[in-house]
């Protein structure tokens, strides 16, 4: 609880500083503008430094050794998707591997399907949980019974590209301090407006952020939907925490706090299903926001040692993002209050709309960010160019969603018991 109060105090102090110095509107405008450019610069640097020479996802890299690996697939109510997920996993261009599917107490017939698939695929092993235990527990148990030193973890509704495993394992074979590698999730569901906007978002926001963070040296989070781990690194940090609602963010921080490197490999592609309804998208993003806040609270007292100084930027980035959301919400509240009563000059907000030039600058920079991301990422997604027309929504939808999920997610993380088991149900997976 002490960490939670400290975490909230830091954010409150930052918001108060913005407010009392009269910088609140400047901060609301400049923070996203500045971050957009950092992501663009980081993404372009990553591309020229690491990515440009790569042959791309369609050619598997040639490795010196091919150790036995375990592909872990947690499944909860995945009867609709698990057959194609297992099929895609079984077609990896890798000589020796096992697939471990974990039926996490599903209510549908996922378990029956997995048992049938186990007869069809000789390298498929199945773990049934008597009761739903959550994704972190599913991964922990799969890691326990897995035979490989390297794990590839993929969600029960995701399709691994045949060369994804080779790309994920390569950095860990080349550098013994790489504890995890995260891949490049590409969106399959593109029927509705929300689906199409997310295609741009995954390139523009998630792809560029991962690249920029890799350039910085530390990554805020691996993508839980596709990642590879070194068993000894996981063992060193105690595996996945079953009480964290976003086990992927938590394991990323725990690994890096123990000085394991995390790398991003854009050629390791997996095709994923995303929500295509507002309700589904809200549930998913709220969980991400809450998860980020939980990890922030949990790690706050653990990162102040000098040897952990490279984690400070991740904490600062989280604090500034949260401060931005709080400052924006506060300015809206002050604007409303100002309509009914006289406020001191410093607290009076004449309008919640940014001045025309600011708003246009933000929108234009967001579009520029998308164009840069698309130029980098089009080699992984032949249909990415079709998303260009929909990008106009992205500056509004993304920042609005970030604002509201942060505002709701932070108190949720604050009031949720840190000892409560993290269980959740996947939102809708789009239209077929």
């Amino acid at each position: 609880m002490k960490q939670k109060f400290l975490g909230v105090l830091i954010i409150m102090a930052l918001v108060t500083t913005c407010l009392t110095t009269g910088l609140i509107l400047d901060f609301i405008f400049f923070y996203p503008l500045f971050m957009s450019f950092i992501w663009i610069i980081g993404g372009v640097y990553f591309y020229f430094h690491w990515e440009r020479q790569s042959p791309g996802a369609e050619q598997a890299p040639l490795l010196k050794t091919y150790p036995f690996i375990s592909i872990l697939i947690p499944c909860f109510n995945e009867s609709r998707n698990v057959v194609e997920t297992i099929e895609a996993a079984s077609r990896q261009n890798w000589p020796h591997f096992e697939i471990i599917a974990i039926n996490d107490g599903s209510k549908d017939n996922t378990g029956v399907i997995l048992d049938q698939l186990a007869e069809q695929y000789p390298n498929l092993r199945v773990i049934h949980f008597a009761q739903n235990q959550g994704k972190a527990m599913a991964l922990r148990m799969a890691a326990l019974v897995a035979k490989g030193e390297f794990f590839v973890s993929v969600d029960g509704d995701a399709l691994l590209h045949p060369n994804a495993t080779a790309y994920l394992i390569k950095p860990m074979l080349e550098n013994p301090r790489v504890g995890a590698v995260t891949g490049n999730p590409r969106i399959r569901t593109r029927a509705t407006l929300l689906g199409k906007i997310q295609v741009g978002e995954f390139s523009s926001i998630i792809g560029l952020i991962k690249r920029a963070q890799r350039v910085y040296g530390h990554i805020f989070t691996i993508s839980g939907v596709i990642a590879a781990f070194r068993r000894s690194a996981l063992h060193n940090c105690g595996y996945w925490d079953v009480n964290m609602i976003t086990e992927d963010i938590d394991i990323s921080w725990q690994l890096q706090l123990r000085h394991w490197q995390i790398q991003y490999e854009p050629c390791a592609i997996t095709w994923i299903l995303m929500p295509e309804t507002l309700k589904g998208l809200w549930q998913q993003r709220l969980r991400w926001a809450q998860g980020g806040a939980e990890v922030y609270f949990k790690s706050l007292t653990m990162i102040w040692h000098w040897s952990d100084r490279r984690m400070w930027m991740l904490v600062l980035d989280f604090c500034l993002g949260t401060t931005w959301a709080c400052a924006y919400m506060l300015s809206i509240m002050l604007w409303i209050v100002g309509k009914f009563m006289i406020l001191p000059t410093d607290l009076f907000v004449p309008t919640i709309w940014p001045p025309a030039f600011w708003g246009l600058a933000l929108a234009s920079v967001s579009l520029l960010q998308f164009i840069v991301a698309m130029l980098i990422e089009r080699r992984y997604d032949r249909k990415l160019l079709r998303s260009v027309g929909w990008t106009i929504w992205y500056p509004f939808i993304f920042w609005a969603l970030s604002l509201f999920t942060t505002i709701v997610g932070l108190p949720k993380a604050f009031f949720t018991s840190s000892k409560k088991r993290a269980l959740w149900v996947s939102p809708d997976r789009g239209f077929r």
Partner: protein, 154 residues
């Protein structure tokens, strides 16, 4: 490099047959309206190019009469901030590469052995070995998430 022989199936789902046409049309119309709104608000920026052309045509003289040129000062400030922050960021990346690129700063961990894993979970090595060889398992946990029973089905 080995070229994959697997003919990867088309994974993108556009739901051509299931999503009502009215929703598709609505999405297109709303998106066009958003673009029109954006270009409407951007019109002053396009005037800048017109002024630039007129100014150049008139022999690159005094810029004072051209209102849209005032945007230059603001853009210059932004550009300064962006260039400085970008240089700091790239400088940091280059510094790290030069300083630590080929240096092994930390010891490597040996691969974890099965008996270490068994010990960390409070299991016997034989028990864990049996589970690692099993193809289908059923696991039971208590309310606190502790493993209470494992049935090996095959």
């Amino acid at each position: 490099m080995t070229k994959t022989s697997f003919e990867y199936q088309e994974p993108i789902l556009e739901a051509h047959g299931t999503l009502p046409i009215i929703i598709r049309v609505r999405d297109v119309v709303l998106t066009i309206l958003m673009w029109l709104m954006y270009f409407y608000f951007m019109r002053n920026f396009f005037f800048f190019f017109k002024d630039l052309f007129v100014w150049a045509f008139n022999g690159f003289g005094d810029t004072t009469p051209y209102e849209s040129f005032k945007i230059f000062a603001t853009l210059g400030d932004y550009l300064g901030i962006i260039v400085i922050s970008g240089l700091v960021f790239i400088g940091w990346a280059v510094y790290n590469k030069l300083r630590y690129g080929k240096k092994k700063r930390r010891v490597s961990h040996a691969a974890v052995q099965s008996d270490q894993i068994a010990e960390s979970y409070g299991l016997s090595s034989e028990e864990l070995a049996a589970w690692q060889e099993a193809r289908v398992l059923v696991m039971h946990h208590d309310l606190a998430g502790r493993l209470t029973k494992v049935d090996v089905l095959s």
